[in-house]
Assembly symmetry: C2
Homo-oligomer: 763 residues x 2
């Protein structure tokens, strides 16, 4: 039976075209709308969000993953989640925490010797240039363990984790200064600076907050811990921060709750924290001159705590670095307007938003006009002197985001479950929209930059309750997309969040992102440098040094080199693997059965799987990413010989023997296949394929595969010349495998050309 | 300044209604379509998939997460991802691997003493009753470490992981028999049974495959390892499996590739695995009489390997348990038709699908009509005798899914990047559709059951390449939704997969799932039993036994009890926490700063965070799930006293002191607030709110909060009676906090009623 008729069908396919013509649908739009219960308003929302195959989103959102320790990336307006990027939590699909390169990043985030394998990510910040989002880097804080993670947006990988040396909990980060000179991170719950101990009876005296200014070295693409410093603050629970911009550049703002300095203890009859921390009508906004603070730090006016320079409060008072202003009851967000002049704060147990004027604040500071000092001697500017206006918005105002329209801001109302649109210049409410339910943060497109992009707003709801199909007691969150292009807000789309609980999100115009599709050959993606263990095809080898074995390996469709690795029980084995593919999306994985390793090897990447061969046995390694038709065959054996085992070095018997006839049959098949491939090549090259960069890349990839085919063909012919029909047949088979890969790519290219209106340019 | 005008605004809100009227949109549908470049066909696809806020999906898909070790859950037709369920990989949002209860599940999946923190999940299977999906349990295999995970669909949590005792790699699972008596899992790469060692030179003699039948105890909701058994198979790479059904019930089918038994070694000049494993024109389908095998196992005709009963091949031959049939070149999927009569296999390097007839196979077996035996003596049924038909489909046929329409099957074509719809009775192609790109599995709604539901098909594409906004070298996968209700297939929607690489997926009618929204009070969700450490409010306590400290805690909006826990350096501390909420979606989290613990406490759940207090210091614990307006205040302190520390037991000074005037002001505020709450209560109860179960639940929750408010009020009044204005004021503040929570819920209920057309039923 000649079942392997690959070539004949391929020939047909090339001749008649692969897709049947589209037949007009039997169902009309009206029928569908009626069946699905859609209104005209729903249809409009569908048209505003639906993105057909191959379509692109206008904006990209980076949402913190909350206690998942990851970042979620999605597109607007399609609200399709494009990627989860692991920052603090190991994740095997990305190899994060399962290869040696990323383990080093995670280990740099361990605290006081403790292994931490998760994070409570809150606030992502995209790097800025002159107050505009530049799309190069992303920073995010961890609330539970006081850390900042850095994601390089050229490959969406985490490249650095830094640990705060003095705090036990942070919340007011990450926020960047307008040129990303510093990343701001403020404390949350007070502790003893340097993570020391003091009893709660000494709370007022020994517990402190602080704000840390992490220095960013853009050239190196890294936070420079050696040039970072902190500022001691009172034991209020510092909360969110924002950097000044334009007129207020050089200043930063951090608010607080529990300025009551209340310590709970419900178990011993005291009212709980929630009562004592929300009793007073006001808390304190911290107004900080960070540019001057940086000078004070450089002048050495610091105390070293846990080897980290801290400007103490006495110095801050003396140098005029920190001022306090009362802000309404238990505020949550503090947001600086695009022009830098206004600072908007909502007290979550108040009903009003308070708009402070930066110029009024400066006037008060310059005039030395203070209403008093707090218990630690920090000067207090009176609220009346600093306020531009106060506007009653509703119940539970939390956060603010700015529109491209002048003076327009959006504020989340947690208790009301609403978004309110209002004018912060004139102080009046413009519109309200109900969301579902209990909104926390909200994000407008580039809404924290000096040039907000408007158009869309997303409501990051804390509860979903009844919005989606039930999936057990743990519900998804609900991100609701809102059209803000018109005078009134329009709810467009509900997006369930399937993993984690995002707090804040940052949204950037998609065209500002310029991610790579492949790495420079042999890159260690976690350092950005060439990997010292990278090898080119032909350089693969196994090196032994005592009980340490290093396997320098390559991966390509559809095999690893080497395929057999033999070691002794007790050896430590490192597989240092380079993906030698150049084609986009041609990722390989690597795992070893029963071991805790998995690599994600994108084109050009080099990464290391390290194991201790602790038990004798037979282990399979294989590609964990479905890379090609022969993906399942992309495998190898790790043999771990028992202690004392002596290899008899006898050759194994072949499972199947091949004859000259088998060889001849395979070669005939290959030659016929080549004719078909040639016809596809003609089909493509007769068209304007170079006008389609994706197709040009596919053609390049196919050409590579055909070069490999030539090499296998040569091996096959060499074996045949020696009448070694076994190897001649098998290499001829391998030659055909490369042809299949070339055909796969060729058909993909042809399909693309057919669907994208390529035209015939040659006869 | 009277900024806390909560009550006045609330009053206004209640009086005028919270939402502004919807203003007709300025943008017309035509304008939006033109701006976004949508065709009429696009709009129809949008109408078929767009799901407005609160809408439900008709089907729920459970997709394996591949090397992420998770399961992805999404809705059809909206293609919105609802949840990631961790099975083999720790994930902190769910507390999986971060609480003691789930750690036990993960630890049961460790292999030969090795900690494994990931899995390569491939094939999910929903439990069946009489061949119909019943929606109770989900099983999934791990290819890298030979394990099966069990997810209970009443709460979408992983409750069991079992390790295969004899294999080093599996792939042909999980597949269930029609009443879920057994879960089938077959080997992938051959090894030495029991995970022993043998050199590759003895591959043919000592390496073996196998298939394991895991016994499922539905009553216990667990796989019963003590009643499970395996069947030894030749060292072909067994691949996918399927269970017979109806006429073929009692039989199972497992195919294979590399029946050539080829061992690669490209590093030593041998052609790679991919060549040698795909050289022959055919491989072997294993046809297995599992019902008879179960009897043979029960009769004790087994060898114990690693304490696990294995029916050896000699016994299988003697008892007539296993038959082989040639199947075309390197097949991947084997799928049994809804009526159980046909078995469809595509050879991925062939162009045809082969349809085998179960009755013809039975005829051959009954007649003893075999064409020979394989090298291990297993009888081979000739392909001609077993075939119903062969149909040329295209390049790289992989998997098959069945339609509700008689005789209609869909097959994925990997190399062609197409789905082909064809008639397996008549043996003819009906339609082809191009997908993007390189489809692996595909899933039709309930398409593997005895009653396929038709309507939709999803193409699980392995490459996305150019479909989405770029997110770095590691691309998302692409799941494409296809409308199969008409004569021709219509592509509706591209869904990027943001995490992991799904292999197979199972789709079930949404109304068959009946998940919980809350646990019975004090449930250990990983066992389903009452947690021995669960406490009711009022029973909270701290117990010390030597250096072991147990904190029996409750969590409720917005505090933990206790709030202060003091231990000594070196103590082991367990926080055993019960969420005492009853309201849907009212989850709390729990983390301790700088420690590697995070809990997800859904209503009623009890879980344990265990740490070693290895360093003295001040640590904050807090709720990691934004649960309420005072979520940030839901905190406490763990104090770890340094070795030798002697507590002076002095009382701390209050941060703020409150007077009688403060008390009076707070009480006045509360009384005014209560009036407003009463008015909301009237608004709700005057309407037919009991017709809305979600609202009825909210009202119940609000009533709870008001009961708590009464309790705080009593405490406040008791303190006032003793002129303890500090506690009187703070408890009055707590009373108000409960009022805020009640108002929050009340407004949510009111909002729901307004949006869902509730009617006034009382005056």
């Amino acid at each position: 039976m000649a079942r392997t008729i690959f070539h004949s069908l391929l020939a047909t396919a090339a001749a008649v075209g692969l897709t049947l013509p589209t037949v007009a649908t039997a169902q009309s739009l009206d029928e569908v709308m009626e069946r699905r219960g859609l209104t005209q308003q729903d249809l409009l929302a569908a048209a505003k969000t639906f993105t057909p195959t191959g379509g692109r989103d206008e904006f990209i959102v980076f949402a913190s993953g909350g206690q998942s320790g990851q970042i979620m990336v999605y597109g607007v307006p399609s609200m399709r989640i494009l990627k989860y990027v692991s920052v603090f939590t190991p994740e095997p699909w990305q190899g994060f925490g399962f290869d040696e390169e990323s383990k080093k990043i995670l280990e740099s985030g361990y605290i006081d010797g403790r292994e931490i394998h998760w994070g409570d990510t809150h606030h992502p910040a995209i790097s800025e240039t002159e107050g505009n989002l530049d799309g190069e880097f992303l920073f995010i804080n961890d609330k539970s363990s006081p850390r900042i993670g850095l994601v390089n947006l050229h490959d969406f990988e985490t490249q650095q984790i830094v640990v705060n040396p003095i705090l036990q909990s942070t919340h007011g980060g990450a926020f960047v200064t307008p040129n990303t000179d510093y990343i701001i991170d403020a404390a949350q719950y007070p502790g003893v600076l340097g993570r020391g101990f003091a009893p709660l009876s000494e709370f007022n005296e020994k517990y402190r907050g602080a704000v840390t200014y992490w220095k960013f070295d853009r050239e190196a693409g890294r936070i420079d811990e050696s040039k970072s410093f902190s500022l001691e603050l009172p034991p209020y629970s510092q909360d969110l921060s924002d950097a000044g911009k334009l007129v207020s550049d050089g200043w930063s703002f951090t608010n607080s709750f529990c300025a009551e300095r209340y310590v709970g203890g419900i178990e011993s009859g005291r009212p709980p924290f929630e009562a004592g921390c929300s009793q007073a009508d006001t808390d304190f906004l911290h107004v900080i001159n960070w540019k001057k603070a940086a000078e004070v730090y450089e002048a050495g006016k610091v105390e070293m705590i846990n080897d980290h320079p801290v400007i103490m409060m006495d110095t801050a008072i003396e140098e005029g670095l920190v001022y306090l202003i009362a802000e309404p009851k238990s505020p949550h967000g503090v947001d600086v307007s695009p022009d830098g002049e206004f600072i908007v704060v909502g007290g979550k147990l108040d009903t009003q938003a308070s708009v402070y004027s930066f110029s009024k604040i400066m006037d008060a500071i310059e005039a030395g006009d203070f209403s008093g000092t707090d218990p630690y001697g920090l000067p207090i500017i009176s609220m009346e002197d600093a306020l531009h206006t106060q506007v009653p918005l509703g119940l539970g105002p939390l956060h603010n985001q700015f529109d491209s329209k002048e003076c327009v801001v959006y504020t989340s109302l947690y208790v009301d479950s609403q978004v309110v649109k209002w004018d912060y210049c004139e102080g009046k409410v413009l519109d309200k929209l109900s969301i579902h339910y209990n909104i926390g943060h909200l994000v407008a497109m580039e809404g924290e930059s000096v040039n907000p992009a408007g158009k869309y707003l997303i409501s990051l709801n804390k509860l979903a309750i009844d919005r989606f199909n039930p999936v057990g007691p743990l519900h998804p969150q609900n991100h609701q997309l809102i059209d803000i292009s018109g005078d009134t807000m329009e709810l467009l789309y509900d997006m369930p969040v399937p993993l984690g609980e995002p707090h804040y999100a940052a949204a950037i115009a998609a065209d500002k992102l310029k991610p790579l599709v492949r790495y420079k050959y042999g890159t260690n993606s976690r350092t950005g440098e060439r990997h010292e263990g990278a090898v080119r095809p032909g350089q693969e080898r196994i090196e032994r040094d005592g009980t340490n074995v290093k396997v320098y390996m390559t991966a390509i469709r559809s095999h690893f080199t080497p395929e057999i690795v033999e070691v002794n029980e007790g050896d430590t084995v490192e597989f240092i693997i380079t993906n030698s593919e150049r084609a986009q999306d041609q990722t390989h994985g690597f795992s070893i059965s029963n071991f805790n390793v998995n690599l994600s090897l994108e084109p050009g990447k080099t990464a290391t799987a390290k194991i201790v061969a602790d038990r004798p046995g037979v282990y399979s390694y294989y590609c964990t990413e479905f890379c090609s038709a022969l993906h399942l065959e992309m495998t190898g054996y790790l043999l771990v010989r028992p202690e004392g085992y002596v290899d008899e070095a006898k050759a194994g018997e072949e499972g199947v023997s091949y004859s000259e006839a088998d060889y001849t049959k395979q070669v005939e098949n290959n030659l016929a296949t080549q004719e078909v491939i040639d016809s596809v090549v003609v089909y493509i090259t007769e068209r304007n394929y170079t006008d389609f960069p994706d197709v040009a890349a596919l053609v390049e990839d196919a050409t590579d595969q055909l070069t490999f085919a030539e090499d296998a063909k040569a091996k096959s012919e060499a074996a045949a010349a020696e009448e070694d029909w076994q190897n001649a047949t098998l290499w001829a088979g391998q030659w055909w495998q490369y042809q299949v890969k070339a055909a796969d790519i060729g058909l993909r290219a042809k399909n693309y050309l057919d669907e994208n209106g390529a035209v015939k340019t040659a006869e």
